[in-house]
């Protein structure tokens, strides 16, 4: 019975070899939500660029993504800012097409998109629920499909999703965010199972804690200070883990990983 199962698996797992195109073209990364050099997306973009990989920084806010691209160029890397709203199918397609037109083999895509607006359950409107779902979950689906479309011919590539503790459980006051994030997590898991055997590594990174980046610093500076040293996540250290996961050999891939400050209560 066991042998039969192993045989069945072996037959199912027809793996494509890396195609000549993927071997010969220079590699590129496309980071959605890379606006602001000191957030997770911006830190990942800079970490990847440091290794000589061309980075496309995509986001809604032209000024912010240009700031990240400039920071990369100032460090000697190669980066291009691409204005794209992650809920717009056309704009996402445009970003992917640009990478291809420039002659790069897309090898890493990061989905670091989402909004987190807490609120009492009875105050959540259908519009708000849908907006959350579009920004956090639908964007993952749209970017995921394009990623597969562009990576599958290469027979390799990595797609990483930024998750949150809300991906794992719904806390009071986070109904719409949790529903959207849990939806994104399931989507990522299903993609990992479908496309792993095709050589595409799909990863879900669960960030559990406050990120010491621009967003929180601008709205809740006191909160960050009160957490103290190692009380909030440093985007550069998060980015290091993203880089290590991207580097994993295909015999030992991680699908899901959690990251939290050592002092975090969980």
């Amino acid at each position: 019975m066991i042998i039969e199962k192993i045989l069945k698996n072996a037959l199912k797992n027809k793996v494509r070899e890396f195609t000549p195109a993927a071997r010969n073209s220079p590699r590129a990364a496309l980071i959605f939500g890379g606006g602001s050099p000191s957030g997770i997306g911006g830190a990942v973009a800079q970490r990847v660029a440091r290794e000589g990989i061309k980075v496309y920084v995509a986001g809604r806010n032209k000024e912010k993504i240009q700031a990240t691209a400039e920071a990369i160029r100032a460090q000697g890397g190669d980066a291009t800012a691409v204005v794209a709203n992650a809920t717009s199918k056309e704009q996402i397609e445009g970003a992917f097409e640009q990478v291809k037109q420039d002659g790069f083999a897309l090898d890493l895509v990061v989905h670091n998109v989402g909004t987190n607006r807490p609120g009492k359950f009875l105050d959540v409107t259908a519009e708000h629920l849908e907006k959350s779902w579009r920004a956090d979950c639908l964007s993952g689906f749209l970017i995921g499909q394009q990623t597969i479309k562009y990576m599958q011919p290469n027979g390799r590539g990595t797609l990483m999703f930024t998750g949150a503790s809300a991906s794992m459980r719904g806390k009071a006051g986070f109904a719409s965010f949790s529903a959207a994030k849990a939806g994104l997590r399931s989507l990522a898991q299903s993609m990992a199972r479908e496309f792993g055997p095709h050589g595409i590594h799909v990863v879900h990174v669960v960030i559990d804690g406050m990120v010491n980046g621009d967003r929180l610093r601008s709205v809740l500076p006191g909160m960050l200070d009160s957490k103290g040293e190692s009380g909030s996540l440093n985007p550069d250290d998060i980015a290091e883990t993203y880089w290590q996961l991207y580097q994993q050999h295909r015999t030992a891939w991680t699908h899901e990983i959690d990251l939290r400050p050592c002092k975090e209560v969980w």
């Binding site: 045989l7 015999t251 891939w253």
Partner: protein, 253 residues
């Protein structure tokens, strides 16, 4: 400068997870204490590490015996090194139908996974807590446990192993919540798939067939697994991982 050390428990064949982590940690400059049951196997690994310019000490012990664990950590304590990394990599997953399990079998699994894991965790934490110093701030050390897919769900024929691994996972999660704020990084690595090592090769007939059927890169390489253990150990305390899964890209899960 005081040299730092690692304790790797559950080291056997060279082509295995324990040995690969020991070699990796030694290459990164740690004095490694490699603990296992078979002297000949440990000696081979010590020789390799020393030949490469690293430092290693073999310790013969049984992870289910309290005195052995105490002696091991006393030896580390007396070595003058500062303990930074402990890996608990034990467990045997021979399949057996549920109705053929007996008390001896289920207790054996429990001893190797849960009891040994607790004793080692306690000894490691006690020793690490002695080395609170200014230079390391929040980070005292790392304790990593090897898990399996059986840690997450019970498959047929693995009732005893799965119950022990699941119990270990729960204990380790509890430890992480207790000792994270105290600067000790507790991690659980879930290995999901066949490991391309000496253990599977030693399973008569079936083992080699299973590896062959997995195809190219269809089984986990110990060196790549070791890479993930090392990644966790190197993480900064502001972004620690508690649990990570590792599986071959074409593994069905």
């Amino acid at each position: 400068m005081v040299s730092e050390s690692a304790v790797i428990i559950g080291v056997g064949a060279r082509l295995g997870v324990g040995a690969a982590i020991a070699v990796k940690a030694a290459r990164e400059g740690l004095h490694v204490f490699i603990a296992g049951r078979t002297p000949a196997k440990l000696d081979l690994i010590v020789d390799e590490i020393v030949a490469a310019g690293g430092q290693a000490t073999a310790v013969i012990m049984d992870c289910t015996i309290d005195e052995d664990i105490t002696a091991l950590f006393e030896q580390v304590s007396n070595s003058g090194t500062v303990l930074r990394l402990v890996v608990y990599n034990t467990g045997r997953n021979l399949p057996a139908p549920f109705m053929e399990h007996d008390v001896r079998l289920i207790e054996g699994h429990w001893r190797r996974c849960v009891l040994g894991g607790m004793l080692v965790g306690q000894a490691a934490i006690r020793l690490m807590q002695q080395h609170i110093d200014e230079n390391h701030g929040d980070q005292l050390g790392t304790i990593l446990y090897t898990g399996a897919s059986a840690s997450m769900r019970g498959k047929p024929l693995f009732s005893g192993f799965a119950s022990a691994k699941a119990a270990l996972r729960a204990m380790v999660q509890s430890m992480a919540r207790e000792f994270g704020p105290q600067g000790i990084h507790i991690g659980h690595i879930v290995i999901d798939g066949v490991i391309d090592g000496d253990v599977i090769r030693s399973v008569k007939g079936l083992g080699k067939l299973a590896l062959k059927l997995k195809g190219e890169d269809g089984a986990l390489r110990p060196d790549e697994i070791a890479q993930a253990f090392w990644m966790l150990h190197r993480q900064q305390p502001n972004s620690w991982t508690h649990e990570i899964d590792l599986r071959p890209f074409k593994e069905a899960f």
